[in-house]
């Protein structure tokens, strides 16, 4: 489902990702740990086809990036630090816009709003909503087109426990989708991971199955 073979992505002369290799089967979850600046967000953006790999092979959903990026775009959902929503528009308008872009029927918008429990505030401008509500709408946006692959950058930040329970069916392990999740929370991260990727300064220092990784190893990354 995802194959990375010595992926390199530079920023100027610095290597933001350096020889990262990974193999993730369909339906499994890899959790990415690492301090700030380790390359977690860069990795997610490369997988999302927003950044092109500078060297190494990247295969996502059986397609080679960057050449076949256009084929996989509609099958990936990215939930990043930014909600990717327009503040002056309402949640409904934002979702309608994304539905049109992804050629998804408009009925799905209402479904998703209900799924994240945002129907009662769906027609107020986004800038009047709290951070947690915006994040819920962002989850709706990221899953609107039923993507096969979910790329989640610290998805549970800004969400209270009730909200987390709401979104789990959509973006959690039980959604059944293949997931790449970046996380700062070792216990929750290890609990939902099938595979663990530990990044430090762009290098993959941990690439192991989740049961083989202990919390102290994760803590080492941050030292």
């Amino acid at each position: 489902m995802i194959e990375l073979d010595r992926l390199v992505r530079r920023y100027g002369e610095r290597e933001a990702l350096s020889d990262v290799s990974l193999s993730l089967p369909t339906g499994k979850t890899v959790v990415v740990f690492g301090p700030n600046g380790a390359g977690k967000t860069t990795l997610l953006r490369v997988l999302a086809t927003l950044l092109r790999p500078h060297s190494g092979a990247v295969t996502v959903l059986d397609r080679q990036l960057p050449d076949e990026a256009w084929r996989v775009r509609g099958r990936i959902g990215l939930l990043g630090h930014e909600p990717l929503l327009y503040r002056e528009l309402t949640p409904r308008e934002n979702l309608r816009y994304h539905a049109r872009l992804h050629d998804v029927p408009q009925e799905r918008v209402q479904e998703r709003l209900q799924a994240v429990s945002m129907t009662n505030r769906a027609d107020e401008p986004l800038r009047t909503l709290s951070r947690g509500m915006v994040q819920r709408v962002a989850v709706a946006r990221a899953t609107l087109h039923d993507p096969e692959l979910l790329l989640l950058d610290e998805p549970y930040a800004n969400l209270d426990p009730a909200a987390i329970d709401l979104v789990m069916p959509l973006i959690g392990a039980e959604s059944g989708r293949t997931r790449v999740v970046s996380s700062h929370d070792p216990s929750r991260g290890l609990a939902e991971a099938d595979l663990v990727l530990g990044l430090r300064a762009g290098r993959a220092v941990i690439v192991k199955a989740a049961p083989d990784v202990g919390p102290e190893e994760i803590a080492e990354l941050y030292r």
Binding site: L78, L84, Y86, E93, Y97, L101, H102
Partner: protein
């Protein structure tokens, strides 16, 4: 492609209607500038080439306000990413933004041209108006194409408000030449002529060439 452009234009116009960030400012700027010109020139009316010059320079600078704001919401609120993640042809963004800018310019002119006729123009506007439509339309197309390209170029840089107009104004000089020269014979009281065909042709050619160039290079501004 059409669906994508439609979705994008709808979103653009919706955001603009909600925020009213561009169009009222552009229109107000134009009217205020006419007033300033009255005092700067110390004249009650203008006609001929002078009138054409004042009209086009004012429209141009007002357009710059719109160009500056064209991609700002997308750059600041993750609009680029949201678009780039969609399985659509990326040139649709160029078309949609240019169409939106064109709409803004049309509204601007609906306000500014009558205001010009009222405040500064000596000869009656009514007789000049039919002839003015062609330069206005072609000028708008040129500003839309070049303005969108320049706006996309400038928005993800550090000095975006400054670079936009600095890049756009030289590129728009031929449009100013064409429009101002085409309109000058229309704005005289005695025996107003029609716009010279040579200027209309120049404008059309310039619009075509830069439209094609913008179409060809735009994708490179979006990819990373």
């Amino acid at each position: 492609m059409r669906r994508t452009v439609g979705a994008l234009v709808r979103k653009e116009l919706l955001v603009e209607l909600r925020t009213l960030e561009s169009v009222p400012g552009m229109a107000l700027f134009a009217v205020t500038t006419f007033v300033v010109f009255h005092f700067a020139l110390n004249q009650n009316t203008v006609s001929g080439q002078e009138a054409a010059g004042i009209l086009w320079v004012t429209l141009l600078f007002a357009a710059m306000l719109g160009v500056n704001r064209l991609f700002v919401a997308d750059a600041d609120q993750g609009g680029f990413d949201g678009f780039l993640l969609a399985p659509v042809d990326r040139t649709a963004l160029l078309l949609a933004k240019a169409l939106a800018l064109l709409c803004y310019l049309l509204v601007l002119e609906l306000v500014a041209v009558p205001a010009f006729g009222l405040l500064l123009l000596g000869p009656p506007l009514g007789q000049a108006l039919p002839g003015l439509l062609a330069p206005l339309a072609l000028g708008d197309l040129g500003v839309a194409a070049i303005g969108t390209l320049v706006a996309a170029l400038a928005v993800r840089t550090r000095a975006r408000d400054l670079l936009g107009p600095l890049l756009a104004l030289p590129l728009l000089v031929p449009i100013v030449i064409g429009c101002a020269r085409a309109s000058a014979p229309l704005l005289v009281s005695a025996h107003p002529g029609g716009p010279a065909l040579r200027w209309i042709a120049t404008l059309a050619l310039y619009d075509l060439v830069f439209g094609l160039i913008a179409y060809a290079v735009f994708d490179f501004l979006l990819e990373d």
